[in-house]
């Protein structure tokens, strides 16, 4: 890799984001902790009856993971805006969409990947049958990057504003409805012993589309929001 080439810039940015995340390890643990707390509250609210918990386990885990990702999304560009490195990124000769794609990948690895690891534990706490867990993991592996990509576009749009967590939730809700439907559809089908590949395939198709389009939309949104 020659210095200054696009691949070198992407690698450097990836290493920088992972290093920054590692230096603030406590922040990585926060979404996981949040998911554990929310999931723990459900049995207290609904009662410890195993059949009921098993029925709702898939939906509860999916919605909890979604909320945890929403919580983590705010930090995607926050520190880079505060110290001005986002402007440098936008001025860089490399394509902004590609650099943002790398940033989203690093953010997904630090914020969403731990959630996928902890999700089977949470699901088991809610008495999800063991044969459904593979469907849950497959749904999460495809749904979480999709949510990170869609959320990144919206975070970029709000980059120039004051802190606006509620606004982000309001804007993300219409975008995440199809994701939740298909992810929960796969888990529900697996729970009823039906084939669950079709909704997973839809999620995969949506992810392929978002992988190409979302970084470009994110770059366009960032140029609009930071254009002061």
């Amino acid at each position: 890799m020659t210095p200054g080439s696009t691949s070198a810039a992407c690698a450097a940015l990836f290493r920088r984001d992972l290093t920054l995340a590692w230096r603030r390890r406590g922040d990585i643990a926060m979404p996981v902790l949040y998911a554990v707390i929310v999931t723990t509250l459900f049995p207290f609210a609904l009662g410890p009856e195993a059949a009921l918990l098993a029925r709702i386990s898939g939906g509860v885990v999916l919605v909890t993971v979604l909320l945890a990702i929403l919580l983590a999304l705010d930090s995607l560009f926050r520190s880079d805006i505060d110290d001005g490195s986002l402007e440098q990124l936008m001025l860089a000769p490399q394509p902004l969409a590609l650099l943002l794609g790398v940033k989203i990948l690093a953010h997904w690895l630090t914020a969403a990947a731990p959630l996928i690891v902890v999700a089977p534990v949470l699901a088991s706490m809610l008495r999800m049958p063991a044969n459904v867990i593979p469907a849950l993991i497959a749904a999460l592996v495809l749904a979480t990057p999709l949510l990170s990509l869609l959320g990144a576009v919206l975070v970029a749009l709000t980059a120039g504003t004051r802190r606006s967590g509620m606004l982000l939730a309001l804007m993300l809700l219409p975008l995440c409805v199809p994701v939740v439907i298909f992810a929960a559809g796969a888990v529900a089908a697996a729970q009823e012993g039906l084939p669950w590949v079709a909704p997973i395939a839809w999620l995969g198709a949506a992810l392929a589309l978002a992988l190409v389009l979302a970084p470009m939309a994110c770059a366009a949104a960032l140029r609009i929001a930071m254009d002061a």
Partner: protein
């Protein structure tokens, strides 16, 4: 080749000319909207016969269906204006897109409320997680997101551009949401009025419906123009043409 049409459209992009044009059109649109709405209500509530199955309860259709059409129509109009504003940086298009959003949100809200009033006697429930109802609710959230994003920026033009971009994301999203919730659950009746092919509706019920549709369209124009005029006066308050209008209305007092 008649080139006065592009020339006229080009001139309409200028705030003072649009302000005057909107001021002339608005009272006519509002008056025609009220007339058409009164005619449609008379036709729908008095002249049209009761439904063989739903009795008189079906008459809420004359509010519900035109509002539902408008909720989608205004989203389309907003997205077109947002696209024009983003691509050609036309200030009027940005203002039109942003001032369309609250009107569209109001029509969406009316659709949800009347639909819920209609659902209680017909389906026996105020709300059900049916595909069309859910899509309409998601549409309301899209509108609210656009409005919220527009107002969260200090600079109005920057806010308008960011919210325009969100409106364009939304227009890609609406068919996806509709398809996915359809796949998920459906109870709502299919469309009765079709543009292509025969409608499943009696003529005496169809004409009030179409007249009400015309009335809501005209009301949208009147309301939009009033809002755009107010917005233009506020954003252009430092310009000479606003000062001229203010002086003309206030006499010579500064």
């Amino acid at each position: 080749m008649a080139n006065w049409v592009p020339l006229w459209l080009h001139k309409l992009g200028s705030p003072p000319i649009f302000y005057r044009f909107a001021g002339v059109v608005r009272p006519w649109a509002l008056a025609l909207a009220i007339l058409a709405a009164l005619a449609a209500l008379y036709g729908g509530l008095v002249l049209a016969p009761a439904d063989y199955q739903q009795g008189d309860a079906y008459r809420i259709i004359f509010i519900h269906v035109p509002s539902a059409w408008m909720s989608l129509f205004i989203y389309g109009a907003m997205a077109v204006a947002a696209f024009v504003g983003l691509v050609w940086r036309i200030k009027i298009a940005e203002v039109v897109a942003m001032e369309s959003a609250p009107i569209g949100a109001a029509f969406t809200f009316i659709t949800l409320v009347t639909g819920s009033l209609w659902g209680k006697p017909m389906w026996g429930t105020w709300w059900t997680w049916d595909a069309r109802l859910t899509s309409e609710l998601v549409l309301l959230f899209l509108y609210l997101g656009v409005i919220g994003l527009y107002h969260s920026f200090e600079d109005r033009r920057q806010g308008a551009r960011a919210a325009s971009f969100l409106a364009l994301i939304g227009i890609v999203n609406v068919p996806i949401v509709h398809f996915s919730v359809n796949w998920w659950n459906t109870l709502h009746q299919g469309s009765t009025v079709r543009i292509l092919g025969p409608s499943h509706i009696e003529m005496s019920m169809l004409w009030p419906l179409l007249t009400m549709m015309l009335a809501t369209k005209l009301y949208y124009i009147a309301s939009l123009f009033a809002r755009v005029r107010a917005d233009l006066i506020a954003t252009e308050s430092g310009k000479d043409w606003v000062r001229a209008i203010a002086l003309a209305e206030n006499g010579d007092r500064p």
